[in-house]
Each structure stands twice: as C-alpha cells, then as structure tokens.
C-alpha cells in the first residue's frame, strides 16, 4: 500500500506543471477559450513533444508505454489550471478505445499521429435523449455491399468540430458497434459551439456517412465502451482533484487577505469552519480517486471503482465548487476572477461521465451483493 509517486513520476509531474502553469494563468486561459478551437495548439504541440500525448500507448504503437498513474497525474495538473486541451477526450477516451480494440493498421494510423500531436480523435457517443449508458440507439450503422454507413445525430460531442477523426458508437444488428469515421467525408455535418466552462462541443449529424468498424465488425462493444467510460471517470477523478485543490487554495488565500468589518475574513469562524469542511470533502475524494487509479493500474475490472469515484468526486465537486464561490462573495461571480470557472468546469466534468445520482444508483443496485467493501482485498 503506497500512495506516493516515485522519482520518475515526480519528474513528469514537475515537467507538466511547469509547462501548464507557464501556459495558463486565469487571464491567458480566458483569452484562449474565447477563440477557436478553444485550446492552444502550441501547448498541444509541447505536450506532444514531452511525450504526454502518447503516455498510455505501447511503444510499438508510437507511445510511451506508461500506466494510469502517469496519465492520472497529467490529468491532475490539467485540472489545477483548467487547461482546455482535449487530453482526456483524445488520449484517454478515443485513443484508449483504439488501443484496446483497433486493428494493427488502425493503431498505426491513429496512435502514432495522436502521440506526435498531429491528429486529434474523439469519441462521438452521447445522443439527444440519452444519458450515460454505454449503448447507442439514435445513430445506426448498416452494412451494404461491404461498406458500413452511419445515420443519426450525436450531441454533445466534446471537441467534435475540431476533431480530425471520430470514433462513433452506433446501433447495429449485433448490438452497439464502434466505427472510425473521417469527419470530412460526405454525410457528416458538424456544428461546433462553446460550453459554459470554456470547453467545446458539437452536434454531429450523420447521413449515410461511411465508417470503418473499429477492430472486428459485428461485435457488441457495450462492455468495451463501459470499460472506456470507467477509465475516463477514474482519470477525470484526478483532474477534478486538481481543480478542487486549487479552488480550496484560492479560497483560503482570499480569506486571509480580504478585509471586511476591519479584519481579514479568516477571523470569522462561520467561514473558516466551512473551509475546513471543504478540506474534509477534498481529502476523502482524493483517497477514493487515488485508490481507483490503483485499481485501474492493477488491471482489475475498473467499473465499480469508477462508480465509487464518480459518486464521491461528484459530491465533493458540488460542495467545494459552491462553497468556493460563497466564501469569496461577489468577486467569485465575475468572469474575470478564477474561482467561478472551477465550479463551472467541475459541473461539466460530472455531467460528461455520469452524475453523482447515476453512480449512486449503480452502487445501490449492487449493495446487497457483498458484506463489506475491502480496498485491500
């Protein structure tokens, strides 16, 4: 049982932190997210140069062969500054699916250019009327004379307008399939827009667009999608921990400097007790998130650990985000000040991958299947 980073991991963390804190202060981030594509292509290239975009992929596929712990610590650094680059979307989710399921040709065509920063793939899965199930209904795929064609609407698709390649889930006779779609082909219409937290998403309308099955055809990918989602929840847990830590730090710094009634705000116990409760929420969420990362690293089925993380992080994100704003007062309502954007992003993170009620529902459904939960078992 060890929750500390080794020296190589520390070096990676320091390098990523150095890059991202230099790239983003609050004002610079606002500038970047107000312009298309919503992130800094220069920072993306630097991350590629550092090897970060190929971290989880095998060296044979052009990657670094690192594990979830390394990927997680990058996500934590991203969370600390709310870096808008699509690291999780491209590397963890879409890249992860290609690495899991792709043919040798697909891996060669996608993972190497993803790792060197020249190709951004994203997963198009969420559909209007859907929630967070690993199942596609509105988009269908049919094979005709050896060609698969996809029809239907995906929305919101994170970074869907900027993406160079889409991995699309679609209902097939065999269940939910996954297809690689070149977004520039006929039958793909993309309408991009900005999100409340500065992120980017798109409506992707498919009208007989040609796609290639990811890996073997005629296989139900529901379980694979669920595992990919679980992996993303666990990595995003690290991102949320980074964001919550900074939201708390920003709040405590403000309490010790802002004066009202002639004294700094930390003289008011009504405020300091609430900050103490934020710390408790953060540390409990960090414990679960770190454990889930180790479950993922062990190669065990990550789905239960992901549900536990999703619930705890979702709850802590609400608590810390809301209190960070309240303890600041009016200043935190302004777009110019940083802390409100942390709450906004934490809210977006939760709703991308299952909110706290969704995850609690999963846990409640299986609560009778075991006596106790033993993290060391």
């Amino acid at each position: 049982m060890d929750f500390t980073y080794d020296s190589e991991q520390k070096a990676l963390r320091d390098a990523v932190r150095g890059l991202l804190t230099k790239a983003y202060d609050s004002a610079r981030r606002r500038d970047v997210v107000s312009d298309e594509p919503g992130f800094d292509s220069g920072v993306w290239a630097q991350l590629a140069e550092m090897g970060v975009l190929g971290l989880p992929f095998a060296e044979a596929d052009g990657g670094m062969g690192a594990g979830p712990v390394e990927v997680g610590l990058v996500a934590e650094e991203i969370g600390r500054v709310l870096a808008p680059e699509p690291f999780v979307e491209a590397v963890v989710v879409a890249g992860g699916l290609v690495a899991d399921l792709g043919t040798a040709e697909q891996k060669a065509a996608i993972l190497a250019p993803l790792s060197d920063g020249t190709l951004i793939p994203v997963l198009a899965h969420t559909e209007p009327g859907g929630r967070w199930e690993p199942v596609a209904r509105a988009v269908t795929a049919r094979e005709d004379a050896g060609t698969w064609r996809l029809t239907g609407t995906k929305e919101p698709v994170a970074h869907g307008a900027r993406a160079d390649l889409l991995v699309v889930s679609a209902a097939t006779p065999a269940g939910t399939g996954l297809f690689v779609v070149d977004p520039t082909v006929d039958g793909v219409t993309r309408t991009g827009y900005a999100l409340h937290d500065g992120g980017r998403a798109a409506q992707v309308v498919l009208d007989g667009a040609v796609g290639t099955p990811l890996g073997a055809a005629d296989v139900d990918r529901t379980g694979d999608l669920e595992v990919a989602q679980a992996r993303a929840i666990i990595i995003r847990g690290q991102e949320a921990v980074g964001a919550m830590q900074v939201a708390l730090d920003t709040t405590t710094a403000y309490l010790t400097t802002r004066k009202q009634f002639g004294v700094t705000l930390n003289k008011f116990q009504a405020l300091t007790f609430r900050a103490a409760d934020m710390y408790v929420s953060l540390e409990l969420a960090r414990s679960i998130a770190s454990w889930a990362l180790l479950v993922l690293d062990s190669g065990a089925d990550p789905r239960e650990a992901a549900a536990r993380t999703g619930f705890q992080i979702g709850r802590a994100g609400h608590h810390i985000g809301q209190e960070a704003i309240q303890l600041h007062g009016g200043i935190a309502m302004t777009a110019e000040y940083s802390v409100g954007h942390y709450m906004s992003h934490l809210t977006a993170l939760e709703h991308a991958l299952g909110d706290r009620r969704f995850h609690l529902g999963r846990l409640a459904a299986s609560v009778g299947d075991h006596g106790t939960v033993d993290p060391l078992a």
Partner: protein, 391 residues
C-alpha cells in the same frame, strides 16, 4: 503507488487476524458483536490475553513492551482487532497515561506503573474535564497545593468514563494559580482513587446508561513523587497525550462491521415477504455510507502508510471528524432498519424483538458522544482551519 500490501505486511495482517479470531475468548467477541455491554472482568481478561502475547501496547517504547512497528502495522493491528470483535486495550491505560509515564515519568514511576498498566492490573481513569472546563480545558480549576511531601487536591472532575471501575486516576491539576499564562500553571498528577476524600458519583446519560461519572476531591493527600515529570509542565504532557491518539482515532473496522450487520438485517424477509433493502431509498443510503466508509478507510491507510516517523500526515485530522460522523450515521441507520421494533428498548430477554433492535436506539443516543469527546468536532475544524489551511 501500489494498491496491495507488501508480502510482509500481508503476512503481518494474517498473523493478527489469526491471533484475534482464535486466542480471545469467543464469549467476549460475541458480546461485542451483539453490542452487549462488557463487564469489567471481560475487558480485563481480553487485555490480559493481548498483553500475554505482547499485543496490548505495541506502540510503547520497546523496553516497556513496544514492538517498533510501522504506522501501517499499527493500523492493521488495530483494524484486525476491531474486525474480530476484540475489545481494544483500555485507552486510558495504553494510549493515554502509559505513554505519558513512559516518556516523561521518572524511572521510579515507570518501574512502579508501566507493567501493571499494560496488563490492566491497574484500571486508570481520566481526570481532565471539569464542569467549567470542557473544550476550553486550560480553564480547569482543580487545585493541588504543596504541603511537605504531599500535594493536597481539591476540586471536581467530570465525564470520567468508567470511573466506577477506576483504581487510579490521572489528573490535570492547577499547581500555580499565578502563572502568567493559565496553561503554564498545570501539572499531571497520579491519584489512588481509594485515597480518603475521593468520591465517585455516576451520571445517568440519555441512553439510560451510567458509563460516565463525576469525581470529587476533598483535601485528598497525594505523595509528591506521584507528579509526573516537572511541576507546571502538565499542559505539555496533556497535549502529547491528546496528539498520541492517531492510531485508532477512526475506528473504521467497527463502523464497517456494524454497517454490514445492518445491511444483513435489511435483507431479512419481512412479514409481507419483501425486504427493506428492496427500497431504493434505503439501498442508496447504504451505498452512500459504504462509499464514505471506504473513503475514510483509504484516508486512514494513506495517513498510516505515509506518516514519516512521528509526523502525522496532514489528512490525519480528517479521521476524527469524519470517523465519528460515520460512526454516528451507522448507529442511525440501524435504528431505521429496526423501525417500530426500535421502540422496544426496555423489553427483557425473551422478547420477540431481537436484542440488536432493542439496543438500536440507546446505542444511537449514546454515540452522539463521539463527536463531542476527544476534542469536539468543532475543535477539529478549528485545527484543520488553523494548522492545515493556515486560516
């Protein structure tokens, strides 16, 4: 980062588990599992079994029975003990006065007290709180005035847990009423409770039990060599004592065990053939508590695995706060599961209402104490705010 215990720690855990589940009398373990009140004899017997195997005071200095274990080993020892329903060694002896005497006491005091303290030949009571000195402990007024080779003690202590069994009591007393700071005039005194002038009076609590007492001192004469360490340094020793409770501050395993028990009961068939756990609201509450308990356990492991030497991991202050909240939440869900049967708290053995349901509400009421004792949870929030967050 690594999830599994090292092979050595895993073997250690197994060794502890085997000992606790095979060497401590089953009758005592059953009583703990059924949440029955233990007799003094049962508590003493259990501690002597542990002490005979060298497992009562592993955190003491080696020459007095300590084992030199890592923080993680101490954590595993404590958790396996609770999970096996073994009553932990009496905290007043092993976590409080023992380490103070071992660290600050004279050689005479060590020789005289440490072995019988470890073996529970002496049952220690704690004399810290007073009617006007609760969270503000430094305002205590019980006085000790030097008269020749003796101290003469007058005053009143309160909330003395299990004082009815106490042979000796360790007290904070005011030895210098004129000290410039009130913390500087306090000493740490060991008092034989059979001394003339000591009176113990039980306090009945809201659960109907009498586990705490008031202790009165009227001109009690205490030999001067029973003052631990230096005169007027008692506050330092008290802070050491209170900071020494890191291991076992969050009784995760017993909370986990009680939660699993409650869940098992919620899966029993009701008269209409359904079970309570089929209620999605109750199932969600169980799932929520399980997750919180897991988060607490992992935090305790983080603290234990990553505490360097005597310096606690900053997250350790979370343990008391959240640990007691969850302890309370679990006693609460037991009442919810018992439902109308929880009203039968006065029913005798032989009632159709099972024992666990009869004690559910008294236990729930009793455990409101957990967020008050050992530094109330508001004191813990103050500590987090000032020493961790710098507020």
């Amino acid at each position: 980062m690594r999830l599994q215990l090292s092979p050595e720690d895993a073997a250690f855990r197994e060794e502890m588990r085997t000992f606790f589940t095979t060497q401590v009398p089953q009758g005592i373990r059953d009583a703990v599992a059924e949440r029955r009140e233990l007799s003094k004899e049962q508590i003493v017997e259990a501690q002597r079994v542990l002490n005979a195997a060298g497992l009562a005071v592993p955190h003491w200095p080696a020459e007095w029975g300590g084992k030199g274990w890592t923080q993680l080993q101490k954590h595993l020892w404590h958790e396996e003990m609770l999970q096996a329903c073994v009553p932990p060694p009496l905290s007043f002896n092993t976590n409080m006065v023992g380490p103070v005497i071992a660290t600050f006491g004279s050689d005479e005091l060590k020789e005289r007290f440490l072995a019988p303290t470890a073996n529970l030949d002496i049952w220690w009571s704690q004399g810290f709180s007073e009617p006007d000195a609760g969270s503000d402990l430094a305002s205590l007024r019980t006085s000790a005035v030097r008269d020749g080779d003796e101290w003469v003690v007058n005053g009143q202590k309160t909330w003395t847990t299990l004082g009815q069994y106490g042979d000796w009591i360790f007290c904070l007393v005011r030895t210098d009423p004129d000290a410039p700071k009130r913390q500087q005039g306090i000493s740490f005194l060991l008092i034989d409770m059979t001394s003339p002038g000591v009176t113990v009076r039980p306090i009945e609590l809201i659960d109907g039990g009498v586990e705490v007492n008031e202790v009165w001192f009227e001109d009690v004469r205490v030999p001067a060599d029973q003052l631990v360490g230096e005169e007027n340094k008692g506050w330092t020793y008290a802070k050491f004592l209170l900071g020494n409770e890191r291991v076992g501050v969050a009784p995760v395993a017993s909370t986990k065990r009680l939660l699993a028990q409650a869940k098992e009961r919620a899966q029993e068939k009701l008269a209409d053939g359904s079970t309570l756990l089929e209620d999605p609201l109750l199932a969600a509450r169980f799932a929520e508590l399980e997750n919180e308990v897991l988060a607490l356990e992992l935090t305790a492991l983080r603290v234990a695995a990553n505490s360097a030497g005597d310096k606690p991991h900053p997250a350790s202050s979370v343990l008391k706060l959240k640990g007691t909240e969850l302890q309370q939440a679990v006693t609460e869900i037991v009442v919810d599961v018992a439902g109308p049967a929880s009203l039968a708290s006065g029913a005798p053995d032989g009632s159709d209402v099972p024992h666990w349901a009869r004690v559910a509400t008294p236990q729930y009421l009793n455990y409101r104490k957990a967020s008050i004792y050992g530094g109330s949870n508001e004191v813990q929030r103050s500590i987090i705010a000032s020493s961790i967050l710098g507020l």
